[in-house]
Symmetry: C2
Subunit: 327 residues, 2 copies
Amino acid sequence: MKQLSSLELQKQINAYIEALSYMRDPRKLYDPIDYVLTLGGKRLRPVLMLMAYNMYREDVNRIFSQAAAIEVYHNFTLLHDDLMDHATVRRGKSTVHVKWNENTAILSGDTMLILSYYYMLQNCSSNLMETVMFEFGRAALEVCEGQQLDMEFETMSEVSEDEYLKMIRLKTSVLLACALKIGALLGGASGQDAQMLYDFGIKIGLAFQLQDDYLDVYGDTALFGKNIGGDILCNKKTFMLITALKNADEKTRLHLQKWLLDQQCQPSDKIKAVTEIYNELSVPDICKAKIQSYYKEGMELLDRLSVAPEKKTILSSYIVGLMQRNL
Amino acid sequence: MKQLSSLELQKQINAYIEALSYMRDPRKLYDPIDYVLTLGGKRLRPVLMLMAYNMYREDVNRIFSQAAAIEVYHNFTLLHDDLMDHATVRRGKSTVHVKWNENTAILSGDTMLILSYYYMLQNCSSNLMETVMFEFGRAALEVCEGQQLDMEFETMSEVSEDEYLKMIRLKTSVLLACALKIGALLGGASGQDAQMLYDFGIKIGLAFQLQDDYLDVYGDTALFGKNIGGDILCNKKTFMLITALKNADEKTRLHLQKWLLDQQCQPSDKIKAVTEIYNELSVPDICKAKIQSYYKEGMELLDRLSVAPEKKTILSSYIVGLMQRNL
C-alpha cells in the first residue's frame, strides 16, 4: 500500500485548502476567512488526520474535506483567541481584528466555525457520519473549555501542575487526538486502534506544548520563530514557572516573586534573572524529562497499533521531526 | 392524529430546554449559557419546528433535541449580535458581555454554537442526518451573512428596498424556514411539502420583520415591549425609512434628512417629526400592504401543502396570533 510522505500530504492538503472557494457574498465576511486560511502554517492537524487514514487506506483525497474541516476549525480558534488575547500579529501578519475590526473578527470567526462543520459533513461516509460528527463536536467543545481555563489562569494567583496539564490537554491535545481518531475511523480502523491513536495524540500534544514552554526560555530565536522570554515577561503560568514555584525553597520563591511583581525592570534583566532561577531549580531538566516521558508513552501506544510496523514509520518520523525543533 | 396546541408545544420545549444540563466545567463558560437559555422568550423557532413535525407525526418528543438545537443556535446569534451592537439589555436583563465581560460573551457564544450542532445531531434519524445537518448549516451560514449585511448597512448612505429585503430574509426568515423544513422532513414529509414549508417560513419571516419595523413607530409600548421610535432615533434603515426616502419629493427628502442629521434635537421631537413625514408619505399603509402581501403568499403556500386542511389550523392560527400584535 502506498503511503504519502508528510511533505506530500502537507502539499496536497495545502493546495486543497487554498483552492476552497469563498466566492459567496458579502465579501467583507468571507475576505478575512480567505486571509486566515492562506497564511499557511504546518497544517499539523490535517496532516495527522491524513496520516492516520493512510495507515489503513490509500485514497487520502477521499477525506480532504474532513482534513480541511479540522484546519478551518483550528484557525477559527486562533482567530477568536487572538481577539480575546488582544494579539496583534499571527504568522507574521496582522490579526483579523487589527486588519479589519473586532466585529469582523467575531462574525467571520463564527462563520469559520459553521464552515468547519460543513466541511466535516461533506463527503463523509454515511455509516460513520454520526460518530465523526460527535467526535468532532466533543473536541470542539473541549477546546473552548481549555481556552476558558487558560483565560482564568491569568488572574489566578497559583495554578497547580495538574490544573495546567488539564488545560493544555483541552486546549491543544484534544484536537490533535481528534484529528488522528477521525482519520483512523474513516480509514476503517478498529475502534481500539482509533482510540489508541486518540490517546497517542493526547500524549504527543502534551509533549508539544511543554516543548513550546521550554523553547520560550531556551529556544533559538531563529529556529523557534518567536522572541525568547515572551512567557517570562508576561508572567505566563507555563510548566516552567509552575515547576519553579513548586520546587523553590522559601528564599528562592520570594526572589522569583519579586521579579514577577517588578513592572519597572528592563525586560532583558527579568528574562535573565528568571532563567537563572529556572536553572538553579533544574526546571529545564524536569521539563525535558516530562516531555520525554509523554513522548515515550505516545510512541508505546503507536507500537501497539494493529498495523504492520512499516506503516507506522511515516507518522513516527513526522513526530520525531517535530520534537527535534532544537530541544 | 393528535396535535398539540402552540401553548402546549411551547410549554414542553421550554421545559426540555430548561432541563438541559450544563453541569460541565468550567462553570464560568457554562453559566452564561444557562443564563441566556433560561431568559425565556416565545421559543418561536422550536415551536414552528414541532408544529411542522406534528402535521405528519404525533411523537413530537422524538425531535425535542433538534428543536432545542435551533433555539440554542438562535440564542447564540443574539448573544454575539448584542456584543457586536453594544446592546446592554435583552429581555429585560443585562446582556452577557455586560453581566460578565466581552471575552466571556465571545467564548460562551462559540460554545453555544458548538452545542447547537451537538443537539441537532443527537437522536437524529440516521437516514435524514446528512440532509438535516446540511440544511441547518446552510441556514446558520446565511444568518451570519444577514448580520454582516445589517452591520454594513449602518454605514451606507443609502440602502435599496431589495437590499433590505435580502438582509432580513437572511438574518430573520431563513432560520424560521429552516426550522419548519427540518421539522417536516423529520416528520416524514415529502421533499415538496418540506420545501413549501420552507418558502412559507421565508414569507412569514419577512412579514414578521416588517411588522417589527412598523410597530417600532406605530406600536403600543405596553404590548410591543419596546420603546416606540427607537429605530427612528438611531436612524436605522428600516423598511419605513427606506420607503420614505424612496417616495419623498425633493423638499420632503431634505426635510427628512435634516432630522436624520440633527444630533442636538429632543428625542421626542425627532420621533414626532419623522413619524409625521412617514404619515404624509403613506409609509404606514405601504408597509401594512407589504406585510399583508407576504402574509397572504405564505398562507397560500400553506394551503397547497399535501396534508388535510384541519391539520394546518394549529400552525395557521399560531401565525395569525403572532401577526395580530396590535397591527
